[in-house]
């Protein structure tokens, strides 16, 4: 799948694994790709106010809101910060879907090269899940952001 990826796009995927590992996640998900993109990826993200720190806060707010919808207060559990995940991480379904959309977006280009902005487009085009919910809660206009990429 990664043959057409530029060096920058590959770096995003590698950084997404670091983001997932650091968060103690069991798999690499679309939000980890977005966090990687927020560290010096396409400028459209930062222009929308989504630097890495802001995005982390927005993802946490969405998690708390989702748990709150079923009456769970995440802060009621005195949990330590998650330990980094050990061993190799697999791609979860949301990241796989985002990368597949990135590949499709790149094949519409003349040279077919997959750049970091295609990864961002793939992440932003999700129908549902953590990323669209987080962006909506944070007041980010996803269509506008996609148009700016």
């Amino acid at each position: 799948m990664f043959e057409r990826f530029t060096r920058d796009a590959r770096a995003i995927v590698g950084q997404a694994e670091n983001e997932a590992r650091g968060a103690g996640a069991r798999s690499i998900e679309a939000e980890h790709l977005l966090l990687a993109l927020a560290r010096g990826g396409p400028p459209a993200l930062a222009a929308a106010g989504l630097d890495h720190e802001a995005l982390l806060a927005a993802l946490e707010a969405e998690e708390a809101a989702s748990l709150g919808a079923v009456g769970i207060d995440a802060h009621a559990f005195a949990l330590p910060a998650p330990a980094p995940t050990v061993g190799r991480l697999r791609f979860g379904s949301s990241a796989r879907a985002a990368l597949e959309r990135a590949v499709r977006a790149a094949t519409r280009q003349r040279d077919g090269r997959l750049e970091a902005r295609h990864v961002l487009l793939g992440v932003l085009a999700a129908d549902g899940g953590k990323v669209p919910r987080t962006l909506e809660l944070a007041g980010v206009d996803r269509d506008r952001l996609r148009a700016a990429v």
Binding site: G24, A25, R26, E62, E63, S66, L67, A69, V70, G71, I72, A74, F77, L79, P80, P82, A83, V86, G87, G128, G129, K130, R133
Partner: protein, 69 residues
Amino acid sequence: MDTATSTPPSPADALAAVAALRRLADRVEDDAVARALAEGWTWSQIAEAIGVTRQAVHKKHARRQPKGD
């Protein structure tokens, strides 16, 4: 929260809650297993308390623990 009178969450909100609950359950489990091991529990005791096989709990958590086995 007054669950008797509140309206149920929309399917989208409920499904997002399921995903978040799974992540929360993993974190609670990681923390509880680490503390149980520190208190001297065996893998068999931990497995029985969670309701999974010893092999399953060992496979999931052994790598995370400083002592390994």
